[in-house]
Symmetry: C3
């Protein structure tokens, strides 16, 4: 039986990978999937000598699915607040249906 759930997709610089995994473990997102790739985006480290520029990144695409949409959003917000003020990254939240409650 398919049940409503929430997928959170985190795209982050690869250097943040270990920290994000740690935070996911602590917040209770005990299952997630990771794929490596590359990305292009805005460099957020700006100074008067170094303005925002578009550059290439090594990225990880981390996904997790939760039945509890509110909990999923809290975790997503915590990751954004903790890491994405200083680093490039994007988090999307998608409504899905899930065939099994077990998380990967």
């Amino acid at each position: 039986m398919a049940k409503p759930a929430t997928t959170v997709t985190i795209i982050a610089e690869r250097l943040l990978q270990a920290k994000i995994f740690k935070l996911l473990d602590e917040t209770g997102a005990s299952g997630y999937t990771v794929v490596e790739g590359s990305g292009k985006g805005h460099n957020l480290i700006r100074t008067h000598e170094r303005p925002s520029i578009v550059r290439d990144f090594d990225i990880v695409r981390i996904e997790f699915v939760m039945s509890d949409g509110e909990h999923a959003r809290e975790i997503a917000q915590q990751i954004a607040d903790t890491y994405f003020k200083d680093y490039s990254g994007i988090i999307t939240i998608s409504p899905v249906e899930v065939l099994r409650p077990e998380l990967f």
Copy 2:
């Protein structure tokens, strides 16, 4: 023209890859995309000596898109019923729009 369609995303242990491809071919999902990655989740093989533990997996992320949402759901359910009773994995179903009817 964008048309409504259904994306099915299967995240499975990599050792199941060949079997899932075979089942997809048989059920008529003749186009799909595969990306390799890693994952963390619950080990489903439990005994009184070996309880469920969270561990790391080599995973494949398999996606297919179908205009026929009912058919897509049937295939997803068949994969869950056939393989995910004994192995970790998760299947999500997402509403999308698709720009071309041809499947990859």
Copy 3:
């Protein structure tokens, strides 16, 4: 704060990668994520000697997120019109929420 946005997912033969990146840069999708994988789909090059056949492809999965859904759709349509008449590929458009306006 989560805001409504649109995710465009392009699955294309890998040989088209550089051309698609160039078109994305020109159309203003300045941030995107790329993951490499494989796929199975219909070969679109048909002649009376060579009918459509299902074969394996090296693929790229390119994703971008835009707050401006109309702009996202225009870019998606332009890629489909430019490249997917002669090559296999599929583009899906998904409603999401995004936690940060910055694009990767």
